[in-house]
Symmetry: C2
Subunit: 181 residues, 2 copies
Amino acid sequence: MSRPPLAREKVLDAFEAILVDDGERAATMDATARAAGVSKGGLLYHFASKEALEAGVIDRLGALVDADVAAMSAAAEGAVAYFLRSSVMENDPLDRAILATARLAQGGNPAAADALREIRERWADAIRPVAPDETALDLVMLVSDGLYFNNALAGGSIPGPVPRGAAMDALIALVERAIRG
Amino acid sequence: MSRPPLAREKVLDAFEAILVDDGERAATMDATARAAGVSKGGLLYHFASKEALEAGVIDRLGALVDADVAAMSAAAEGAVAYFLRSSVMENDPLDRAILATARLAQGGNPAAADALREIRERWADAIRPVAPDETALDLVMLVSDGLYFNNALAGGSIPGPVPRGAAMDALIALVERAIRG
DNA sequence: GTCTATATACAGATAGAC
DNA sequence: GTCTATCTGTATATAGAC
């Protein structure tokens, strides 16, 4: 807990970056080792298999979501506005972890798909108290999913055709008006 | 145009099915040939490369979207309701073609990502006439994206946690009320 | 802990028989 | 038009030196 090996984190960062920027197919152990500045043998000392490497990314995501859910419930502008605004990716560590895990899920890793479903449920639990009914909750969750989906389709850095700035403010206002009936 | 070779369509169907059910990594030429009941050589007669095979799926999607956009504009319940309802996948040929193409896009095929962006724009063009402003259009498009995203994450046949039946009707009503301000 | 070298498996693609 | 056999590249993983 205190201080995980630096090389381990470096490898995880590199793997995540390749997943996000170049896709699941490009994220080989070879490419990861090269990007992390270690040899393949060195990488395999920290992660004995590809599966272990993938599990490393998924585990890190879990920790980041803990913090995000807490921040959402405490947000001054309200949970819904915070949630939708943070669904547009800004390339922060949480966004990158989510995107990387989404790539793994699409690549066929069942643990990654499970993790994403579980995270979505935790977000829903955080929104539910401020939604008047399940239909309103569905609406908020689906708009958020839509925002993530567009970011996931676009390359890691290229922004998708999602509303930003004033358009995002207007969308949040529309959603909040809708769920208040 | 008149009647494409049967084997060609069979191969395309098999490739699409593996993409949807087992993911992009599992969709090898070998697996596709086996599933289609032809040899690898036979497959390569119809599709000289993996890229050609992927292009085949993307092309078929384009034709299916032509029909869908026409149906959307003519739908008795209105374009928005038709659009959202059809965003919940029912495993029809269009759904499968979209999902397969989404898998290719996630796998790093730029043509697939371009095709999906273009299709999304065609849908938006069909919705725009019935949306009072761009924010309302954003809302409808994002809810639809969210529905697709959840289906894309779930396996091909396993339904995602998306509203169906009465819940879907309620969601459509909520969206239509919201965009009418 | 990190390296090089190597084993094993499988992907995409070619050649040529039928 | 469909097949078998084979080549080449590359991915994961192992073995063992330093």
